[in-house]
Structures are given as C-alpha cells and as structure tokens.
Symmetry: C2
Subunit: 381 residues, 2 copies
Amino acid sequence: MKNIYLLGTTGSIGLQTIEIILKYPQKFNVVGLSFGATKKEIHEELINKLDPEVIHFREANNFQEKYPHKTIYYGEEGLLQFVSYPKEGLVVNALSGSAGLRPTIKAIESKKDIALANKETLVMAGEIIKRLLKKHQVKLFPIDSEHNAILSCLRGEEKRDIKTITLTASGGPFKDLAKEELENVTVREALNHPNWQMGEKISIDSATMANKALEIIEAHYLFDLDYKNIKAVIHPESIVHGMVSFSDGSTKALLSSPDMKMPILYALSYPKRYPTGIKELNFDNLALNFVKIDEKRFPLIKLAYYVGEKKGLYPAVFNAANEAAVKLFLKEKIKFLEIEEIVIKMVQDFKDNIIKPTITDIIEISKEVERKVLSKYGFYY
Amino acid sequence: MKNIYLLGTTGSIGLQTIEIILKYPQKFNVVGLSFGATKKEIHEELINKLDPEVIHFREANNFQEKYPHKTIYYGEEGLLQFVSYPKEGLVVNALSGSAGLRPTIKAIESKKDIALANKETLVMAGEIIKRLLKKHQVKLFPIDSEHNAILSCLRGEEKRDIKTITLTASGGPFKDLAKEELENVTVREALNHPNWQMGEKISIDSATMANKALEIIEAHYLFDLDYKNIKAVIHPESIVHGMVSFSDGSTKALLSSPDMKMPILYALSYPKRYPTGIKELNFDNLALNFVKIDEKRFPLIKLAYYVGEKKGLYPAVFNAANEAAVKLFLKEKIKFLEIEEIVIKMVQDFKDNIIKPTITDIIEISKEVERKVLSKYGFYY
C-alpha cells in the first residue's frame, strides 16, 4: 500500500489521479489532499470519498469544524506543512506553474518520493532539485507523458548507450496555421487542443510550444543529458510520446492512446505496470507522422536551448515571463503572438545571471519578471 | 573476447556477421567457419583473413593439405563435430532452411550459446529446443530483426506485463498486387525485396509471407506466448521491426533503418549495445504506416496459427512443404501462387500427428513431405 499526497487535487491531472487511485484501492491510500480555489462542494465530496488524514486549502474556510479529527492546513505556508506531514508516502505534484517549486523541495526534504506533473519545478531549479534528490535519497517520477515515455524506454538500458532522446509534440491547435494567421486567434481557439484534455496553462503552452520548450529543459535535468542530445519533433497523432535512440542505431519508442491516466499510473506504480483500462492501440490501420519543428514558427523552442545552455536564472526568467504572459492572454489583455514576444523580450533584457542560484534567488527573479510583465499591461496582483 | 562459430559463412547473414566481427576485433574472435557450396577462392580468402582454428566444408576438398594445422571437418556429420568443437563460444547459425536444425541441437548439447538466424530450427522443433536450452543452461538470441527487436523491447520488463507482441512485415515485393496479378510473377520479381537485401529462400518467403508465418511460430517458442497474443501487421517502411504491448495500455516499439547488422550485432553482444555505424533514423520527415494483413491474400499467415495450435509435427510439415515449394519455384518448376497451394495441401493432407515428437520424427516427416512435393513435380534430389 502506497500513501499518496495529492497537490492540485481538482485540476485535470489531480482528478485523473483520483480516478486511478479509486481503481486500485488495494494499492494506493490517499493520506493527503491539497485544494486550490475550486468549489467547496467539490472539496467536501472528495474528502468524504477519499477520507484523507491531512488536508490543505489555499484559502481559509470552516472545514476544521466540520472535520475535527483531520489535520488541516491553510495558505502558502500551510502547503509546506502539508507536504512535511510525518507519514511516509509519495507526493503527486499536479500544481500549475511556479507555485509548485517550494512544495516539491519541502517534500524532498521530508523524504517523500515525487510524481511530478509540475515541470516548472525542474525548469526553475533543476540543479538544486537534483542535488536534493541525491542528498535525501528521494526518487522523482515524471508524469509528463513525454518524459514518462522516456522513463519507460530506459527500463533495463544503460546510460552510456543513450545517444539522443526525442520528445514528441502534437503541434497544438495552430500547427497548420501560418504565423500571420495567428495574429487574431482567440483564447477559446487556443484552449482547444486537438488530442489532449488539459488545464488552461498547459493548453496555451501547447499552442505556443512553450510547453515543449519547458519539457526540453525538464528532460535535461531528469535524464542528465546535454541539450544537444535532446530533440523535439512534431508528431500530430500524439501516439508516440517519447523515443530514445541508442549508440547501436536503434530507437525505442513508447506508444499509447493520448490518455494521461497511463503516465500518471506509471509514475505512481513505477517500476510496476498496472492495467489502466485505456483504449488499446489498433495497428490494423494506423499512420504515425513526424515532422521537423519550424523554429521560426515556434521561436520558444530555440529559446529553450538558449536559456538551458545559459543555466543559472535564465530558465526561471523564461518560465516566469511565459507564465505571466499566459495569464495576460487568458485575461485577454494581450494577443496570442505577444506571449512569445514577451518571453523573448524578457530573456533578452535579462542581464544579472547567477550560475549557482539559491531557491530564494530563483523565486525572487521569477516574481520580478512576473511583476514586470504584468505591470506593463496594467494587470496588478 | 567472445569466441564465434559461424554457420552459413558466405550467405547474406554470414557475410554481414563477418563485417561486424571485423569491426570489433577486440570483442569477437572467430574460432570456426563453416562453408556451404560457394567458391573455393572465397573460402580461402575468409580463412586467411579470419584465421579460424576449426573449419567445416559441406563438400570434400584439399584444404587440409593447405592448412595442416587447422581442424577441418566435412559433410553433414562433420558439421555436428564442428559445432561440438571443444572450445566455448557462441554459434551463429545462419544456415538456410531445415539444414539448421541438427547443428543447433548439437551446439546446445555442447553448451554453446546460439545466435539464431535459422528460424526453421524453432519452427520444426521449438518444444525440444526449449527443453534443451533449459537443460544445458544455454542462451539463444534471435537474429531475425523482428524477434531481435522484441528482445530489445523486453529489456527490463516483466513477463506478466506482456499482453501481445506484434511482428511487422514489409508485405514483400507484391504487397500492392491483387491475387490475380500474382499468377505470372517471375522468380526475379519475387526476389526483388523493396527494403531488405536477403538470401533467396527468405526473399521468396517474404513475397508469400511464409516468412512472417514462420516467424509467428518462432515467436511462440522464443517468448513463451500463446498464439492469440502474437500478432503480425504490414508496415511497408520496415522501420519499426517489432512491438510489445503491455497490460497498462502502453506499447514499446523498436525502430531502426532496415539493416541486418543491427540485429546481428545485438544478438552477438547482448545485453550490451555496440555502435553499428548504420544510418541513423531521421524523424524530421518520417511517416510510419501500419495496415492489417489480408488473410485471403496471404493465406499462409492464417495457416501458421493453425499449425502452431495443432503442435507436434504440424509446424514441421508446413515448413518442409514451404521449403520444397520454394525450391521448385526458384527452379521455375511451379508458379508463384503454387507455393502456398502446395503448403496448404500438404498441411490439409497430413494426418498422423505426434504431439511430442522426437528429433528423428521431425526430420523424417520433413524429408517425407519434401520428397512428396518434389517428386510430384518431377524434381528428385
């Protein structure tokens, strides 16, 4: 029985994680649920259904009176206490954006393994996370379907035999539009992903390919590979999720229907494989296409390699600028193409890099970049 | 340093094996070379280049005088002494057809691991081979690209998680022709495989899909799977060689350029991977297609499942009928479509199955079927 702490319970990954956990009551036990700003009724329903020992809410409420025997924490600091709760287990970090960083660190420090859907954690502070994982002998399993696929392809393989890894990208909803045609796309169009049902932030990131850009940086830290050995390619069918090419000329690929329950369960059960009940692939009539990413059309891909190689605070600047720009786009304060323009501008303007930053350095620069971007567009927080 | 005994030295697989061995002189040492009916000059050149301790020739010659310090064997029985040569090593069995069976058995009995290109060995006597491998604690590595790919996909995986395996088939040179159009295809057309450079027998087998049929039976024994869990699918590009589908809904695939040096080297170096120097795959513009096999168009596929399930002598009957029919076709004694007609007829007519046959039973029925087929067409041997 594996104890599970779930962060981002009512998000897309959170709810799918619960679906899986409920399918395997003999394998997983929900110890903790952390809730964001969704409805009270949903919180109550999930608490009653899953009966966690410890609960965290982003905002204050009267649940402690309702559930006097449960440990309840509130707010940003409460989340850190939540992941430090003194019972061993696996923390599923399905938070969105840079809010995921500090809870990940605290979870590692309290010796809990991590199933990570929050790629921003590794993008912002990959070096620090790697050091902490080693220090506390904690394991981290990626939930991102691409990295999860690569984890699967690496089973039984030797590090020295890896030549390159390839992350596939659907290309998002605007793959077939020319740059000019992107000028006036709406939020609604950008949220309409062709293959995956996902949260808002990641859906927009998928349309700009910032998502693949972040994943390239994530892969660098997860698999300890040079950037030149990390590739990305457009694969419109989203059937092949990741590939590993070996020194002998062979390439191993992981395929599945595009359903996040597969990588979520694999991250939770690793190295075991449990049936997910997702739709089986049918090879009786299947076409899998791979197309080069046009770096002019998707400039954030090239920028990811640039900030990745620069190291230090650069990836955090990229991430914070993107996060803020996506917020502005979702609020209809900027146009779609302004997202990448803002990210490029913030990276170009950044001067004071620190090669070995602390977590405080990273959080400070992230807040500074976010403030710059948001305030410029008259959006204060 | 691994000692290598090579059977079928001057065939397609044999020569590619030598190419690889010469690339890794610090890894492999040729102890033995066995030669078929090719030219004396080629034999001499390879003996001088590779300097084996022991040599076998199918036919008598004067090489013992030329090489007084080498151990030389001749003929069918000599081949069994050759593989029993008292020096440990790996036997690469690249013989064509049923001639490969007895040397494989003798090699196992003399505790030499096997790299097997001769699928007929497993088709004819899979149960016996499996028993002998276990008894003598000998390992067998498939060279067939499909099975080799599956071996690669199974690294680090658990048997219980395997749901199905899928062998890919190029469809051969006549994939796009209707059955009627096959009536008058020539030997030359049948030998012209679109993707692979191979020997004559396997090229014809590829055109009739007898090759895939034999591989289905081979896979049953190699991977210890029920026939219902072994699938085959047409994949015209010959880039994906084999796939394993797991209980969690994921499928692992092995891809490479169609070059036999990859699987040969992997069978020789397993579990290590050495660089092969084969052309890397380029995912910048690649399409991979999968199409259901039409069992009416390729009836030997269905027949393979039938003889496989029947067990005992049935697979040997299928194999012997096919081998004889291919001989007749290559000699232009029968038309292309008669190959499958003969195989179907011989299987239909077979009555006296033995569920647990001995090697003698298997060899006798194979000879009997071959005699029946060849004599009917006035071709005696």
